[in-house]
């Protein structure tokens, strides 16, 4: 689904973390070029 796509990942500690999104993106064939998990608290 994401083959050949470069993806910037923004996650949130108290919701969906960047790491979780990364795993989904990579499973879909995407390349994560930026990943950050923010803490808003």
């Amino acid at each position: 689904m994401l083959s050949g796509k470069k993806v910037a990942v923004f996650g949130e500690r108290d919701d969906v973390t960047g790491l979780a999104v990364r795993k989904c993106v990579e499973a879909a064939g995407g390349e994560v070029v930026y990943e950050a998990t923010s803490c808003f608290v």
Partner: protein, 498 residues
Amino acid sequence: MSSAGEKAGEGNPVIRNCAQCLVHVPDLVPYGSKPRREILKDPSTEPRLMEALRSFPQAVAYPPNQTFIGNLTPDQLAGIARPWYGRDDEQDGEALCTGPFGEIVSQDLFYAILKAANVLTPPLVEFASEHRAALKTRLANHPVFSRFADFTFVPEPTIEAEIADGSALALRSGDTLLGGVRRDNRAEGREDENLDAHTLLETLCVKASGAIALKWLLHREALDAAEIDFVISCGEEAAGDRYQRGAGGIAKSIAQMCGCTSASGMDVKNFCAGPASALITAGALVKSGLYKRVAVVAGGSLAKLGMKYQSFLQAGMPVLDDCLGAMAFLVTPDDGTSPILHMEPGTVGTASIGASTSDEAVYRELILEPLKVLGLAMTDVDKFAPELHNPEIMEHSGSGDVVHKNYRLIAAIAVLADQIAKAEMPAFVDKVGMTGFAPTQGHIPSAIPFMGHAMQAMREGAMRRAMFLCKASLFLNRVTELYDGVSFLLEANPQANR
């Protein structure tokens, strides 16, 4: 009644008492990290911010603050229609600044406690001559803090000139300049950015607010300060000079200020999970027999004042993150009445490094595995306390209801573990959940403000078990991508209702 504790092992420590306090410091909000940075970029920000600050009666009447000090329960708070600010009863004086767990301290009183927290000569905190007597008298007359008023003043204060030349920070009350905080002006301090006025104010704030909570704890327990064996501080400050920034020493500084002459102490750091980690450490020290009375104390965070102020200004709201939080807890051997802290092997939840690459794995380690050791299911827990941030603050700042997000994950784990059906998730959250009520103070909102409410409900026989779940954003240190999690189970004392 039998307890999980009896089944898995006896000799657990108890949380014997607690104190939960707030310090309303509107004129320190500009010194919070976010306001301070924005004011430096655009000085016109400051007057707009100052116009949106709340009065002390408004802050006291604010229902989440009343919940923090125990005058309302989280369930009662949930029954109050929002908005919780700007209510008709804010100015009627009915709301109490003291509650079952502690006090909401006013700014002027806190300034006097900041002065009492100073140990340097020349002093870090100084008041203008005309305000000295009133501030000291106010402190001396306080029923809990009077001992703090044992300080003297330098004969001729120079603080006003230092504020004027920018080398000291003003302590204001509205338009009135009461005094200021200076940097360490001794030779060894002058070239050290870690000892500038702002950093030292941050450190003094955690010490002074921590002392407020510890004094309230001693007062509530009617305990001589000298009876405390050990004190653990768990705030998020980083005290120390250029060679040992963040090295600690806050626990003993607070203990000394409160007269705990027999105590030793240390600081425990774990970001927002600091208080939970400190309580577990205290429990282990007590269970081992090393100490009998361990106080855990958490002072407030100056840096996080006004953290969400931009959202409030945009919405035409008052700035709601205007309070420092402070908590203290007394951990002792089993007294037969107080709630027990489960400390059997395997019953304290951790997020192992191996598990920290998966949210599901973390939650299994935090919730399912400790309960399994005790022979319990998630449905055996009356309440789960996760991050307890006030949703009125978080939703307006665009982060949504952080508390509810955590409950969604907790319920999902219950489904994955086949302990509830997926369709039961909303009802499960209603049963085990609560509304958040804590200010954005980092380590303060992380589960532990429910302690006072849980202890009260357990003593009244209205609750049997509460699980506290804390997260820590370790990745903010920029040297790991991990986040941490810590959990523990509190249970009504099985001997209490026999």
